[in-house]
Symmetry: C2
Subunit: 130 residues, 2 copies
Amino acid sequence: MGDLQQDVTEAELAVLQALWDSGPSTIRQLVDRVYGQSGTSVYATVQKLLERLETKRCVARDRSGAVHMFRAAVHRDELIGRRLRAVADSLCGGSMTPLLTHLVEGKGLSAKEQRELRALIERLDGRKRK
Amino acid sequence: MGDLQQDVTEAELAVLQALWDSGPSTIRQLVDRVYGQSGTSVYATVQKLLERLETKRCVARDRSGAVHMFRAAVHRDELIGRRLRAVADSLCGGSMTPLLTHLVEGKGLSAKEQRELRALIERLDGRKRK
DNA sequence: TGACTCCTCAGACGAGTCGTCTTAGACTTC
DNA sequence: GAAGTCTAAGACGACTCGTCTGAGGAGTCA
């Protein structure tokens, strides 16, 4: 039922980020946080974005109060996973391994990222060894 | 100059895949390979897709002959890199590390992918050790 | 020479998406 | 009951994407 899972657009993501950072919020709070200004049109924009995020099952709405409360229904990490999977599907025949290879071989990694990768691998290696 | 690098759409990707698999080709060859049918409209469609891929600097066109030859101007791996970078930019503030973490922690990985990951890490670990 | 075929090129189409905005009506508060 | 705030529905303009049409050039061959 429903559109399985569609990707989140840029403006929608900005709202979602605000929810991740600030926790459950009202529309007005989100307007302040995302746009830093007020006005009926901006309010309606955020409202529409939340509505679309809701149909994408990315936010949940609490209708019990007089003013609706919104909270994120997906974790950032879950979204990362979806997108990685999408890349794997369209470019690697569904396998995640080429992505991993790409990252591990450090093709586009900064020095800092390479250090972090190394730490990550050592940690994982230790975990598997026992 | 030019639109830096825009993402490749699904239909465009199908053409690009054909170029990766078969090497430099004419439009007609690509039509056969991608659509498996002939006709002026399909021909024009592939032509338009190639034209757009060219402006995105993803294919190169050789105009010297009577019939133009097209070849891929990006590797699959490069495209993977672009998309990973895009995910990192929009979801991780530009850092690739969270992607790596996600993959390494095996959140969405199949058993086979996990085995491959392990092999990959051992290989890398050995390489770094010396 | 003229008909035919195959090509390139420019442009336009219909459908869909995305961010924004307007409006109408319901509810609360004083 | 007037003012202010909320929800809900819908429409807008701009853009993208896959597809298609048509004009014109170049080559071939009877």
